[in-house]
Symmetry: C2
Subunit: 286 residues, 2 copies
């Protein structure tokens, strides 16, 4: 609730903010107009963007793209807002986001290979004003990270990266590492990388839902390391079942598109993926 009300008050008056929720439903239906879409309840989860999708683009292009697509939640990457940003820079950053109707709902992923990096990441998240840090701390740093989670009351969502790197290959690995720690230690479930590791991201979503704080939305071509990113709906993920599972477990965070195909010209692929996800939500909602 806190996040939604931020959006609605912080940029009140902007036309885009008259849209309910993530903007998929712009027009209400009435009983007398049977061709209109039925009014539909808003989902607890929302569509967002992983900042990494725009690694080759500046903040303005990122925000203009999001505005055009009616996407209002951004996970902030350090190439758009450096880790050493001061208060004035952060304020200017938030003001720029608000111009486009966007909220920075989290920061990361941030890799943490030392205690100093952990300190820096949590201080950064605090200065940015988010309560969610997507991060990849070395395994041996987890007890130290836990003290920071308690100290700052900032949730940690550990990002899994499939078979590409030894750190946190899948959701089960993260679960096993955090399940006995503070309940604010959880994961950013990257459904594509989880699948590339040979895990079932939909089973993992259900099994580990109490620790799923963020989701990277993507599709991939195969359930092996050879699988690569592709537009949503063209790969192996069963999105209707995924969305139904989101509702079933009561997921209330962001499904943030991390689109890693054609990264130097990703706009059509991003748009196709956004359209695909929205239609799955619309079609399964009734």
């Amino acid at each position: 609730m806190r996040r939604r009300s931020f959006i609605k008050t912080a940029v009140a008056g902007a036309a885009v903010m008259t849209l309910p929720g993530w903007g998929g439903q712009m027009y209400a239906a009435t009983a007398s107009t049977p061709y209109m879409k039925p009014a539909s309840g808003e989902d607890a989860f929302h569509l967002g963007m992983a900042g990494y999708t725009f690694v080759h683009f500046n903040l303005e292009t990122t925000l203009a793209t999001m505005k055009r697509l009616n996407v209002h939640y951004l996970c902030i990457k350090d190439f758009h807002l450096p880790l050493d940003s001061n208060a004035a820079q952060i304020a200017a950053f938030h003001a720029k986001l608000a111009e486009y109707g966007v909220k920075g709902y989290a920061v990361g992923p941030i890799y943490m290979k030392s205690k100093e990096a952990v300190d820096q990441a949590f201080e950064y998240a605090k200065r940015v004003g988010v309560d969610l840090l997507v991060g990849v701390p070395n395994y041996e740093l987890l007890p130290y990270v836990e003290t920071k989670v308690k100290q700052y009351d900032i949730r940690l969502a550990i990002h899994l990266h499939g078979p590409d790197m030894p750190l946190y290959p899948d959701a089960t690995d993260i679960w096993n590492n955090v399940k006995d720690m503070d309940p604010r230690m959880g994961m950013c479930l990257d459904i594509g990388h989880d699948l590339r590791k040979g895990s079932d991201p939909l089973v993992d979503l259900k099994r580990y839902s109490s620790r799923v704080f963020d989701i990277h939305l993507k599709d991939v071509t195969d359930c092996t390391k050879a699988g690569h990113a592709i537009e949503l709906g063209r790969g192996r993920i069963d999105f209707p079942r995924f969305v139904k599972t989101l509702r079933k477990v009561g997921y209330a965070g962001s499904c943030s598109l991390e689109y890693e195909k054609d990264m130097k010209d990703p706009f059509m692929g991003i748009a196709e993926s956004v359209g695909y996800f929205r239609a799955v939500c619309d079609t399964t909602r009734k």
Copy 2:
């Protein structure tokens, strides 16, 4: 069947043609991999593009966009292939389409205000080698057009244009004009313009299905003349119900996206709309 087999034989060997149907399903599921999408039957209808979507772009840009989106059916507009094209020009045009895995399944819309224009349109359709002509003949020319339909065995799909012009405002108007004529006299059901006229395009699809030979796929913001084009899913059309109705009536033609928003920079909107339509098809197919 004729059209599908054309695609599969005409450009055999092109990688894109290994995709089944309109390319929404690239990977088959197996019982042992529960996260994969279930294998799904192919629909009788297919996604296409109305050439008018690309009124500001040349043929190469049109085809590159379609290839990127895995869309394989184009309704040919005269700005891409002029009405006076000769056999060599038409052959070169088809060869260019085949390079991109695209079939020109129909021509039009073509306005016909005189018998000479009717003659020219049918001769053109015959030279192009299609069996479907999307056209707008003046009302008084309909008996003459009917003789041409019989003579050439080419179906006429009359395009409706909502409240913007007096000719054929909605599906009912076309039906009333052709229902007692040759069964090859029918309509291109523009679901957006039909709605803007205050008609219900889904009711009309069901009611007039025997004469619906082509469909212009679009979404609009309102059911009045003030309604304007918008990305699929953001307007008033109920696409899940639309797709279910397509299946119910056994529609086996093209749903051709006529995207009329941001026409000088339509690519993201086209992609979002394609993604939306595919997801509705995928999600309602099970």
